[in-house]
């Protein structure tokens, strides 16, 4: 091997290394969505309160709806080890969380209806949370409801943790 070839190979290897490092060490983009829930948190309990717009086209049977996104179960938490290995180097983009829906006819009164054993689908790419019969935009907090087509129905807020825990103590003592 000539000195020229060796130099070219070293230069090529250095360029390759630089390219790999620039990808590996690139800082992920920061985002601060209105509904700041995480795809990777396995022990988070998130409580989202949605209020219908007065002028919503969808009949407001329940003007206030609270979505409680449960923490993952023991075995789901254990399974994250494998999940983490499989997506090595890539951010998790989807997550499914057990969901309880509390529907209120009048805010600050006990819920008129509680729907347990539901599912919420978190999507970090589309920045949405799909809930039964609706969807929440995590960027803006906009709440789309209706079936089969979704329409703007109101807005949602992630309850501050202290308020969320207080809500769960009052409405889901077993949580």
């Amino acid at each position: 091997m000539t000195v020229g070839n060796a130099t070219m190979r070293i230069r090529g290897a250095a360029l390759l290394l630089a390219a790999v490092l620039s990808v590996a060490l690139a800082r992920p983009a920061d985002a601060a969505p209105a509904i700041n829930v995480s795809e990777i948190c396995t022990t988070c309990k998130d409580v989202i309160r949605c209020v219908r717009d007065p002028g919503s086209l969808v009949p407001p049977d329940y003007p206030v709806v609270v979505y409680y996104l449960h923490e993952h179960t023991f075995w789901e938490q254990v399974a994250t080890i494998w999940d983490y290995l499989v997506r090595f180097g890539k951010a998790k983009e989807q997550d499914t969380r057990a969901l309880t829906i509390y529907e209120f006819k009048v805010a600050d009164e006990p819920p008129a209806r509680v729907l347990d054993q539901q599912q919420a689908e978190l999507d970090a790419v589309g920045m949405t949370i799909a809930v039964p019969g609706g969807q929440i935009d995590r960027h803006s907090g906009a709440w789309s409801i209706g079936s089969p087509s979704l329409q703007q129905g109101g807005s949602c807020q992630l309850m501050p943790p202290a308020d969320g825990f207080a809500f769960l103590r009052a409405n889901a003592p077993d949580s």
């Binding site: 590996a24 060490l25 690139a26 800082r27 992920p28 396995t42 022990t43 988070c44 993952h72 023991f74 075995w75 938490q77 254990v78 399974a79 994250t80 080890i81 983490y84 290995l85 090595f88 180097g89 501050p160 943790p161 825990f165």
Partner: protein, 179 residues
Amino acid sequence: MNQPPASNLPTDGNPRPRFTLVFLRANPLRGTGIGLALLLRILFGIFFLGGAVNKFQRNYLFGDYPLELFTKRLTEIDPGSFPALYLSKFIIPNYHFIGWVVTWGELAVAVGMLLGLCTRTAGLLAIFLMVNFGLGGYYDASLIVLNLIALIFVVLPTGHWRGLDRSLHARHPRVIWFR
């Protein structure tokens, strides 16, 4: 007198077997067990390497990301719990130091596991880090399993089955790091 299989005979004075295909063929049951332990060690190393890369990406060493993360976590957990106390009194005031310990600690565990270098110490370091993650409010059930796996690498001589510990121990038999 019965002689042990040729593949079991130490060639470097080390009574522990070196994991090779020849050893696996001669000792299928034990070889499979050792092979699985080594595979687990590599996966464990990859797991910690991923964690370390993430820390470098987030600039744990020089940035304020750890402070943001720990402060956010403090708002998510029960304010009366021990993790809240540990976060507020120790981790958050020393977040730069914690960032360095976590980043370099995870990288050291990854290197130790992937190369079989100071493997038992790397296992202990992994347990130390993960116990502190749990105490700091980041407990979840996966930590139980990961700690049990790390314990395997503390108890068993996996760095002698395959890794740098074997040759380093041969050169420096009194040094405890390579045992």
